[in-house]
């Protein structure tokens, strides 16, 4: 075994994300690591690559115990990691990127020709002829940049290469090229740790597969010893012990309707969203879920197709038409962290006036009574159950759950007819999760149309009146209330069409 990990455990801020995981990888082996979002794959890989140090457990490379305090130490020990977000300098050449930080020198000066020759040799060994060592990285396609990352790893004499969802950004035919590359790495005796959701890739490429679930090792098996269905069950099987608020009484009129919607990422989107329902949107990372939300919200607008009441070309138009978005990344996109709860809650109301009405307020519905004054905000914060409801606090001091409630309050002020939630409970503790679920259902019962994107399948299934599944920028199918996780995963991974 080139890599041997035993009992690896890791917690972040008191939340345990890995529980005693074991992993063995042999030279020349392609070892897939699969699991749902949040299963701990990325954390495990970052531990191997020296980005995080494990709290417990041991790691050996070639039988020698190692512990990395910095990614560079892992590199020196022969571990390279290729992230989805490449670590390349777009303005520099391929060779300069490959040898960054390790430029060969001769008599004190950088030996450019040696650098380029070595890069050219590695490119040739990988069968890459479409670009040379002098090409600026910014001119390369995503697939070519991936090759540069692999060359960089090889030039560091990496013996273990971790690839994090390497096909997520590749077009179909580029995936074939990646397969060929991985095969070459295997021939060189390099161990490849291959993280992917896509079961077909796992069975095409990997010798063995390790399944993680909720931070724990479920099973490691040869890919010949399991079938895809079993793998899906291993990935998702769990007790659905969580409580979700009861579903609504049935949908009302159509609030939002898209026909043939498309843009650079999305294509052929047909979707109706009705008053009073929660529509769940499932899909793997990169399937276009967030892009769908942003298209409906006018942030990355549709460029094709029709949408009623209107196809927003900007966020302002969408908000004026009664569409709101609770973003996936609330810290970057949803909140001004250094401003007060009040300022955040009033952000939308102050910027956009809903057409045909004064900013806040239809009567009767909880949370919509918010005026723009002091009392209004307090009422609003009570309606979203912010604890404690202090309008003056800076948002950054709030917990994740409370921050999300402030985002919600922000939208209440303009009383949208349609509210899109992108990962509404990510990074939120269990109690706040339930409160947010209750709020969402309450809003739907009051007649709001809600679309919810979530990577947590139990949440999505438990909350949604209908589930649509996205794959490669399209709607892969729709499932009735309460589908099984396996049914969702099959659609999402392209295992079956309904």
């Amino acid at each position: 075994m080139i890599l041997r990990m035993r009992g690896i455990a890791k917690s972040f801020l008191g939340v345990r994300v890995l529980h005693g995981v074991d992993l063995d990888v042999a030279p020349g082996e392609v070892h897939a690591v699969v699991g749902e979002n949040g299963a701990g794959k990325s954390t495990l890989m970052k531990i191997i690559a020296g980005v995080h140090a494990p709290d417990e457990g041991t790691m050996e490379i070639d039988g020698v115990p190692v512990s990395f305090g910095h990614p560079v130490q892992a590199q020196r020990a022969g571990v390279a990691i290729i992230y989805q977000e490449f670590n390349l300098l777009p303005e520099r050449s391929v060779a300069e990127n490959v040898f960054l930080g390790r430029e060969p020198v001769r008599r004190g000066l950088v030996d450019r020709s040696a650098m380029e020759a070595a890069t050219a040799r590695l490119l040739a060994e990988l069968g890459e002829t479409s670009f040379g060592p002098r090409a600026p990285v910014r001119r390369l396609s995503v697939a070519q940049q991936q090759v540069v990352e692999i060359v960089k790893a090889l030039s560091q004499d990496a013996r273990i290469i971790v690839m994090d969802e390497p096909t997520a950004a590749l077009a179909g035919h580029e995936v074939e090229l990646l397969y060929a590359l991985v095969a070459r790495l295997r021939e060189r005796g390099i161990a490849v740790l291959y993280i992917s959701h896509r079961l077909r890739e796992v069975f095409d490429l990997a010798d063995r597969v390790t399944v993680l679930k909720d931070g724990a090792l479920v099973r490691t098996a040869g890919t010949g010893d399991v079938d895809p269905g079993e793998l899906v069950r291993l990935m998702v099987g769990r007790d659905l012990g969580t409580y979700f608020p009861p579903r609504g009484t049935g949908p009302g009129q159509v609030r939002l309707s898209v026909r043939g919607g498309g843009n650079a990422v999305l294509d052929g989107i047909d979707l109706d969203l009705r008053a009073g329902e929660i529509l769940g949107v499932a899909g793997l990372q990169g399937s276009g879920r967030t892009e769908l939300a942003k298209a409906l919200f006018g942030a990355e607008p549709f460029t094709r197709g029709t949408m009623s009441p209107l196809r927003p070309a900007s966020v302002r138009q969408a908000v004026a038409a009664g569409i709101g978005l609770v973003t996936e990344d609330r810290k970057a996109e949803g909140l001004a962290l250094r401003q007060s709860v009040r300022d955040n809650a009033l952000l939308v109301a102050r910027s956009v006036r809903r057409r045909g009405r004064d900013a806040p307020g239809r009567d009767g519905a909880p949370g919509r009574a918010g005026g723009s004054g002091r009392d209004g905000v307090t009422g609003l914060l009570e309606a979203v159950r912010l604890q404690p409801p202090e309008p003056g606090r800076e948002v950054r001091f709030l917990s994740g759950g409370n921050q999300q409630k402030v985002v919600l309050a922000k939208w209440m002020t303009v009383a949208p007819e349609t509210l899109i939630f992108d990962e509404p409970t990510r990074g939120v503790d269990v109690g706040a999760k339930a409160a947010i679920h209750d709020l969402m259902r309450g809003l739907a019962n009051d007649g709001m149309a809600i679309m919810m994107i979530s990577s947590e399948l139990p949440e999505l299934i438990g909350m949604s009146d209908r589930v649509v599944v996205m794959r490669d920028g399209r709607l892969a199918g729709e499932l009735p209330p309460g589908p099984s996780e396996e049914a969702v995963m099959r659609l999402a991974a392209g295992e079956a069409t309904p």
């Binding site: 560079v72 670590n87 960054l100 479409s130 001119r139 390369l140 650079a264 990169g286």
Partner: protein, 363 residues
């Protein structure tokens, strides 16, 4: 901590299809349309185009041609020996400062203290020389040491105390200013005649000061193109995190660029002392070397955020500013109009670069 998917998707979105055209602008040319799909001979002559450095020299030629025509219409003669020498002399001090500034900006930093460093070194040098030939060497050593020390402080404040370069160097500038204002009311010290030759002698049409500038620029060019430090300056300015994860000690690189930038300001201070025959507490600020050097760097196509550009562009930027000056002087245009035109030129140049960059940007 696991979700890079969105940016990955965004990138995919950018690759196979042109992104949504910004309102009012043409669709961005999809510079990275996958070479693999066809022609992909990698380097991609198709996208070759001309870089900012070429743009600035073309602009320089254009301004010279326009100046020649305008001056001729005005009844003058543009390219006389006198004007050529004048352009070189005017640009030498700014040029030297701007070369140093280029290094700092390429590394993603910048230095607002150069103007006061210039004043300080002019005084240090003139005071130590005190009109004696024997004082020249100690004065040079002291001036360069003082400027290097200031650069070191700038660099350490930025990297160790994590103060943004803008504030760190502004603070240094204020400190030096306070000291100078306290100690001096006007010019002080005296430079011996032999040292004044640096500022006034010339070899044929080429002033010695221009040669000094050329030497400094060539050294910086060599540093950037042939040494590890040069490569790492680009890396740190391009993406400090990528550099760090590749084992580059990013802090050291930034400190080194600040020391070099400050030393360049010190050299400019020496040159100005030689011209004035003395040191002066306002020689740096009167010349506006702080903001003007940054303007020249940016005019030369170096990205203010770092990681892209080079010394060649900066030299062109400085020359362009000097030629503009020379044209205006010959046409005897009012000085305020001159500033307006300079402002327009700088903003227009950066707008042109921004447009070119956004067209070919890969992330």
């Amino acid at each position: 901590m696991s979700d890079h998917a969105d940016s990955a998707v965004a990138r995919r979105a950018a690759a196979p299809e042109p992104a949504v055209p910004p309102p009012g602008g043409p669709a961005p040319e999809d510079g990275q349309r996958r070479a693999r799909d066809g022609a992909g001979n990698g380097g991609g002559r198709r996208w070759a185009g001309i870089g900012p450095t070429q743009v600035i020299y073309l602009a320089l030629l254009g301004v010279m041609a326009a100046g020649w025509v305008l001056v001729a219409i005005d009844g003058g003669d543009f390219l006389t020996l006198e004007t050529v020498v004048g352009i070189q002399q005017r640009s030498a001090a700014l040029g030297i400062v701007a070369v140093g500034q280029t290094l700092a900006i390429l590394a993603g930093s910048l230095d607002l203290s150069v103007a006061y460093v210039i004043s300080l070194t002019s005084l240090v040098a003139a005071e130590i020389m005190a009109g004696r030939d024997g004082g020249i060497l100690p004065a040079l050593a002291a001036a360069l040491a003082v400027s290097a020390l200031i650069g070191l402080v700038n660099g350490l404040v930025i990297t160790r105390l994590q103060v943004h370069a803008f504030i760190a160097t502004l603070g240094t500038a204020l400190i030096v200013k306070g000291v100078l204002d306290h100690l001096y009311d006007g010019p002080a010290g005296r430079v011996p005649e032999s040292f004044q030759r640096l500022g006034y002698d010339r070899l044929g049409p080429v002033p010695v000061s221009a040669l000094l500038w050329a030497g400094v620029a060539a050294a910086a060019w060599f540093l950037l193109r042939r040494t590890r430090l040069g490569y790492r300056i680009y890396a740190v300015g391009g993406d400090a995190e990528v550099a760090r994860l590749s084992g580059v000690r990013t802090g050291r690189v930034i400190v080194a660029t600040h020391v070099l930038c400050s030393v360049c300001a010190g050299i400019a201070g020496l040159l100005l002392a030689s011209r004035l025959g003395a040191g002066a507490p306002t020689v740096g600020t009167d010349g506006g070397y702080d903001l003007e050097s940054i303007a020249a760097v940016v005019l030369g196509g170096t990205a203010l955020a770092g990681g892209r550009g080079g010394v060649g562009g900066t030299v062109g930027g400085v020359l362009l500013l000097a030629v503009l000056d020379s044209v205006f002087n010959q046409l005897e245009v009012n000085a305020f109009a001159k500033d307006v035109v300079r402002g327009v030129v700088i903003v227009a140049a950066v707008a042109v670069y921004a447009r070119r960059t956004s067209r070919r940007r890969s992330r």
